[in-house]
């Protein structure tokens, strides 16, 4: 999941180390609802996956994102 952490870190311009499961829309100011959608399209593009609307809405933290993305990646 290193690639996902990097995409998230680069998107928000924060160190990779700070991308942990506890990172969430509540504690990162730049993670606005519009940026959330933009982030999702970048993740989709760069990880080669597609998320459904439900999944996009369910993601509130890096943990949510990681779980949804990893379920879509080949084992």
């Amino acid at each position: 999941m290193d690639q996902l952490r990097e995409v998230v870190a680069k998107s928000f311009g924060i160190p990779v180390d700070s991308v942990t499961d506890s990172l969430s829309r509540d504690n990162l100011e730049a993670w606005t609802s519009l940026n959330h959608l933009l982030l999702v399209t970048d993740v989709e593009e760069q990880m080669g996956i597609r998320l459904t609307s439900d999944e996009v809405l369910r993601i509130h933290s890096y943990k949510d994102l990681r779980e949804i993305v990893s379920a879509k990646l080949p084992a």
């Binding site: 680069k10 998107s11 959608l37 933009l38 982030l39 970048d42 609307s53």
Partner: protein, 605 residues
Amino acid sequence: MALELTSGASESSEPRGIMDYVRLARKIDSDAQFEKAPANRRIKIAVLSSFTLGGFKEAFLVRCVDEGISPKIYIGGYNQYNQEILDPASALYAFRPDLVILMLDTRTIAGEHYLQPYAMTDDQRREWVRKTFEMITSLVDKVQKGTSARVIVNNFEVPTHSPLGIIENRTPFGFRDSVLALNSELREEFRGKPSVFLFDYESFASKVGKENLLDYTMYYLGDIRVSPQLVPRLCDGYIPYVRAMLSMTKKCLVLDLDNILWGGIIGEDGLGGIKLGPTPEGSPFFEFQKYVLSLYQRGVILAINSANNPEDALEVFRQHPYMVLKEEHFASIKINWDDKISNMKAIAEEIEIGVDSLVFVDDSNVNRELIRQALPEVTVVDIPQDPALYLKTLEELRVFDSLQLTDEDKKRGQMYAEQRKRVEFQGVVGDITEYLKALGQVVTIENLNQLNLPRISQLSQKTNQFNTTTRRYLEGDVRKMADSGNFLVVGIRVQDKFGDSGLTGVAIVEKGGDKWRIDCLLLSCRVIGRKVEDALLAYIMDQARKGGARTLVGEFIPTKKNAPAKNFYRTRGFTQTSVKDGVEIWEYSLKEPVAYPQYLQVVVK
């Protein structure tokens, strides 16, 4: 461009996703950069749209900064375009934009019938086209009344879906027809409005693929109607307008020869060995040349900068059956063993344009880097290694775009090529009087009319060197002056044995009893030094005398660039009487009859 400001995009890798733009934009203090930037590199852009423009502001800012432009960008409230345009007290007008982009889409204007187009009859659809057209033109009118901005209006994506399926075309005036009709009416309407531009959003959509343009998930979740991944490309579509508004238009395409105009190396492969023509290996070069010729036909000046034996290379131009470009298309030909940097400077000097007007195409990475380092003002094209991609690269290079194209612009490539012959001829003749005699110049002086108005205004806006006052006048300003009856507005055309230079000089003179005042007198640099300016001045003196004037006043306002006009009035017998607010006032007594210069014929129309 060598820039102090950069978006940081070049620091690491190229931005890949839209969030990269969001992050880069956050690092740019656009207000501060706007304040610091020179007037010809800053611009206020307002964008009004009927949907969420996710990431547009950020991507547009980054793209502008990469071009060396400092913009202030205002994005109107979500779907508030109507209110913002109608309310004179809105944030849009308080922003005082230089450019307004009106971005409505087909979903918005079609409303309910976007998905149920055949709930309407054909007649109702015709009515819908009329009403929508009126709605858009009336919005544009209001923006024009409330601002001095130029306006870009998006045309509309033609839908690909139809509930009628394969029989969509059986309907006399179907849904798709109606959008096509609207686009065509808008095109017609704005064609004659110099400050309104139609952005071909339909072509943009086709190019990136309509299927990719809308990401349904993002559309339903955030009313985002341009997929965020494509937003940077949409921004790129508006950059040429901004560059043209700031006079950043490039003028001259400088080409290498080996492996650019033909495949292979002429010095080694010989005339029969190079690849050029309708063969699999020759076609990329053959078509590239055809496209270069189309740029020449729209007024781009061409030049050659090549390390070769001139005899070898010129033989290709003269003998090769599939050579599309000929020597006569080039304004400057540097085929030699000098270094490419000196050649580049020599080209700019010979054509009398700035190095910053040049675009360089060379297959050698070393040469490209050399020019980039030594002459950072030159646009260096990153031409790919594969010649199959040459044409596409040149097509996508949008640096020659200009806000208008007069007849003179279209002929510019040709005129500069004629100028090369003229200079060679002067070298042969030597003596200036003999040269002028042999040139057989005909100077035609004509009053302002509907046909020459765009060119006269254009010259006033872009002539920097031989320009006595550098006062810039829009078409409306010029027309008002002429219509008032208080001004003489004339343009001059110059023809000689080498060709027609077109309308290359302008004078605007204020009439006033016994004292007439030359408000501005300007000449394109390519006709300076051929007594053309004297013919124009003689005509003004003659008119002033006939109009009852006893004194002719000339003004000179020094700028960084107009040194060539500095001594104009002094050397023509004017006396400086004062300097007022940086304006030198020169006066000439009209007692004596006026003499036109020798060796040229003056025709007054």
